[in-house]
């Protein structure tokens, strides 16, 4: 496997994230189950001085699927965004986050972090271009590899996301022709192609109808044991079906406004 980028290596002195070897290791050596991929201690999200979320503390061990649930407005998605440094304007985080044993220093314009811990947003976003273009979207920038190697990785990712059999014959057709459920799995594949140390799935099925939901759930279930996944869901039954364990995020105390009010 190619090293991820020189970008990451040059970033190493400023940001303590992960180097590519760790990334690959964590994926390939599933047997090291007790290895902690992400450790979060006392994470709080604040708007000005108001506390919107937290404090939450949890650890994700390699190969586990963890559910993050709680009522809507409790800030589940915000936690995911805080982890990958994509908080909306005006919000800030407090607390410590470690990825693969190294503390993350946020706010340095780091991109090595986000290709190690990959967020898959709630609504599937399909860019212009073909299915292949979309699957290559991040990979193309992050990895230097030959065309065949890239295609191998994409194929692998599409298989893992359970989409390969449906699109293998039409990789060059526009991605806009996919159904919603297929789009969500394409987004999943796009993330998997980066060989991330952990995947953060933000309500992957909430924008989908029942049938597509089942297909996406199947794909997520198939990752269990192979990938480290943090799954946000408001549906306890789904968390029950898919996850090894559950973290609850609750609404902040009544005197403080919740996210929904912001």
């Amino acid at each position: 496997m190619d090293d991820v980028t020189t970008g990451v290596t040059t970033l190493d002195d400023t940001i303590d994230t992960v180097d590519s070897v760790d990334t690959v290791d964590s994926v390939d050596s599933v047997d090291s189950v007790d290895k902690t991929v992400i450790a979060v201690r006392d994470l709080q999200i604040l708007s000005g001085t108001k506390r919107l979320v937290g404090p939450v503390t949890f650890e994700l061990s390699a190969g586990s699927t963890t559910g993050l649930c709680g009522p809507s407005g409790a800030g589940k998605s915000t936690v995911l965004r805080a982890l990958v440094d994509l908080l909306p304007h005006g919000l800030r985080r407090q607390g410590e986050v470690e990825v693969l044993g190294r503390p993350v220093r946020y706010g340095k314009g780091d991109s090595g972090l986000r290709s190690t811990v990959v967020l898959v947003p709630q609504t599937p976003v399909v860019f212009g271009g073909s299915i292949l273009d979309n699957a290559l979207f991040g990979l193309r920038h992050l990895v230097r590899a030959s065309r065949t190697e890239m295609h191998d990785r994409v194929e692998q990712a599409l298989r893992e996301a359970g989409l390969w059999s449906e699109v293998s014959h039409r990789l060059d057709t526009p991605a806009q022709t996919l159904s919603n459920g297929q789009r969500q799995r394409l987004c999943l594949a796009r993330a998997l192609a980066l060989e991330p140390a952990a995947l953060l799935l933000d309500e992957p099925t909430s924008a989908l109808d029942e049938r597509s939901r089942d297909t996406v759930e199947e794909s997520v279930a198939a990752l269990r044991g192979n990938r480290t996944v943090l799954l946000v869901s408001h549906d306890p039954a789904q968390v029950e079906r898919l996850c090894d364990r559950t973290i609850r995020v609750d609404l902040p105390t009544a005197t403080e406004p919740s996210l929904a009010a912001v």
Binding site: T6, S111, R114, P121, V125, R140, L142
Partner: protein, 610 residues
């Protein structure tokens, strides 16, 4: 929804009460629709008049099209009419303007939309929109005072009148337009695209290149084409710095560059010069000028229509698959950040420089006496009459344009099928993009000569109407299109007829947008010089307010500045010109601020409806 419920009295459901007789209701319906359709008719009529003027002009004498397009000899005395040098001049100044303005404009737009925090970006975006509305006569004045001396030093050009100076003036003029339209296009890319790309670990540069620009590109290209249309159709600002020398073509390929620092002529400057007045209204001379007009109109129409089609083009192109960019990602990202933020300095400097120069040189305008006393010749007194004249022209144009533009907008927004709406919209855009010098010439022939009005304020106001109507119509139609579907559905479900629907739903919903459009259109019309020179204004000798229609000219600010700036030797005249320019900019800015206030108000309304 509250909007409908608030006005039940004006929208009676037919089943509940039908107080008026059927005929009364019918006549009111007819009234609404005849009003709306007369708006569309006015747009079509403008085009018809324009084309009619040019075509009859061409028909009045034989035009040698081959000579017009391939010969560079323009000599009316010998009946030799070759337009190649003017076409070349137009092409060169436009290429120069685009080459300077597009890279800066695009980079600044990206910086504004993707790099600056909203707190900084919002006021800056607003000021650039203001800059885009500064009258071209002011840019011309800056061209004379700043750019011409600069070019004179640069290339050993006596006076500095040259194609290069014209290109720079146009670049300065269209940069704000390009930035404003491109920022709109970038802002309309949904944030989830950025988030999806960021969450894959891309740098900001990569996110912009792969996720944002493919979506925004059609809109950004539209901004360039609109800028190009503006540059092609601009007469006055170019007129002031190009030197207007006929028949100049580079002798060889190597001569192209040195010809840049020599005077030239463009299509618009030829038409804005004295020749249309000398050519009469028929014969080969007049026909040749009309031929030039047709060439200009076609060029501008192609750019405008192409530009608007680009902005509605939906299919975003695939991002080009490019590998091997893995190397040096972070340094590249930092470098792009610096370059883009740096590009923002230019429009910023333009803004500051413009304000500075206006305040420094236009000091006369800071004295109230200047506003409230009549002018004395070229060098003394105030500009009371010019202000009054401008306001009279604007008020009259507004009175005529508001109902027409509103009607046209309603027809485009509600009545037409998708396809007809697109055609009507394109025609409206074409009218809005018409070089105003052509409007002036057509108005001159129609009102001043054929109808015998001579120079008349009313002719000037009517000629300004086609400048305002498209802006009103397009903002209204856009607002109607943004109406939530449920409102329409709810209204029609109550049994409202289409005219009742217009009166009780569409108009209450759209009027703030329509007024915004009117103010924006008026801000543009306030700075128009070219249509007024032939039709409505004199430099002095007119009463403050005219008493009739026939032979009743006024004095107006833009033409006042234009005349004064021709006399660039006399320092008093120049001081007067800058003072007038400051006043004109203040009037424009006033109209725009009102428009912004209104827009904020109806943006509040939007929050409240949904």
């Amino acid at each position: 929804m509250g909007l409908i419920l608030e006005r039940p009295a004006r929208a009676p459901g037919p089943a509940v009460s039908r107080p008026s007789s059927g005929s009364g209701r019918g006549s009111r319906a007819r009234w609404v629709w005849s009003w709306a359709y007369s708006g569309i008719l006015s747009v079509l009529l403008t085009l018809a008049v324009l084309l009619g003027y040019l075509v009859t002009g061409i028909a009045s004498g034989t035009v040698d099209w081959t000579a017009l397009l391939t010969s560079s000899t323009w000599s009316p005395g010998n009946l030799a009419f070759g337009g190649l040098a003017m076409i070349y001049g137009s092409a060169v100044v436009c290429v120069l303007a685009l080459a300077l303005a597009v890279p800066v404009g695009w980079a600044a737009a990206v910086a504004l939309s993707e790099y600056l925090p909203p707190r900084l970006a919002k006021p800056l975006r607003l000021s650039i929109e203001l800059l885009a509305a500064v009258p071209s006569i002011v840019y011309g004045l800056i061209g004379i005072m700043v750019i011409r001396p600069f070019v004179a030093d640069l290339g050993d050009v006596p006076g500095g009148d040259s194609l290069l100076a014209a290109g720079i003036v146009l670049a300065v003029m269209i940069t704000p337009t390009i930035v404003a339209v491109s920022v709109d296009a970038l802002a309309s890319v949904p944030g989830r695209y950025r988030e999806a790309a960021y969450s894959l670990g891309l740098t900001r540069r990569e996110v912009i290149r792969s996720a944002v620009l493919p979506q925004a590109r059609p809109g950004m290209r539209a901004g360039v084409l609109l800028g190009l249309a503006r540059a092609l159709g601009e007469a006055i600002a170019v007129f002031m710095v190009i030197g207007r020398a006929d028949g100049r073509l580079p002798e060889s390929a190597g001569d192209v560059f040195s010809s840049l620092v020599r005077p030239g002529q463009t299509l618009t400057t030829k038409l804005a010069g004295p020749e249309p007045m000398l050519a009469g209204t028929s014969g080969p001379y007049f026909a040749a000028l009309c031929g030039l007009g047709i060439i200009l109109l076609v060029l501008v129409a192609v750019a405008t229509v192409w530009g608007t089609r680009g902005s509605t083009g939906r299919a975003a192109r695939a991002p080009r698959a490019r590998r091997s960019s893995a190397w040096l990602r972070t340094p590249k990202d930092r470098l792009t950040t610096v370059v883009r933020l740096g590009a923002l300095l230019l429009p910023g400097a333009l803004l500051v420089g413009m304000l500075g120069i206006l305040l420094a040189r236009g000091g006369a305008a800071l004295n109230p006496v200047f506003w409230f006393s009549a002018s004395e010749g070229a060098s003394g007194g105030g500009i009371r009459d010019q202000i009054l004249g401008t306001l009279l022209l604007l008020a009259t144009a507004a009175l005529i344009a508001l109902p027409l533009g509103y009607g046209a907008g309603i027809v485009i927004g509600t009545r037409a099928s998708a396809r007809t709406a697109r055609v009507l919209e394109t025609l409206t855009v074409a009218v809005g993009g018409t070089p105003t010098i052509l409007l002036g010439l057509a108005g001159y022939v129609l009102f001043c000569t054929t109808m015998g009005w001579g120079r008349s304020w009313l002719a000037g106001a009517v000629v300004l109407v086609p400048v305002v109507v498209p802006v009103v119509a397009l903002t209204t139609a856009g607002r109607i299109r943004s109406m939530p579907g449920e409102i329409t559905e709810a209204a029609l479900a109550l049994g409202l007829t289409s005219s009742q629907y217009v009166r009780s739903v569409v108009i209450p919903y759209t009027w703030p947008a329509t007024l915004t459009g009117l103010l924006l259109g008026l801000a543009r019309a306030a700075g128009e010089t070219a249509p007024l020179i032939f039709t409505a204004t004199v430099f002095f000798g007119a009463p403050a307010l005219p008493t009739g229609i026939v032979n009743a000219p006024v004095q107006a600010l833009p033409t006042h500045i234009f005349t004064l700036s021709q006399d660039s030797g006399a320092p008093e005249a120049i001081a007067q010109a800058w003072g007038s320019a400051l006043v004109l900019v203040l009037i424009t800015a006033g109209l725009l601020s009102l428009a912004v206030l209104l827009r904020n108000r109806f943006e509040g309304a939007r929050r409240w409806t949904t």
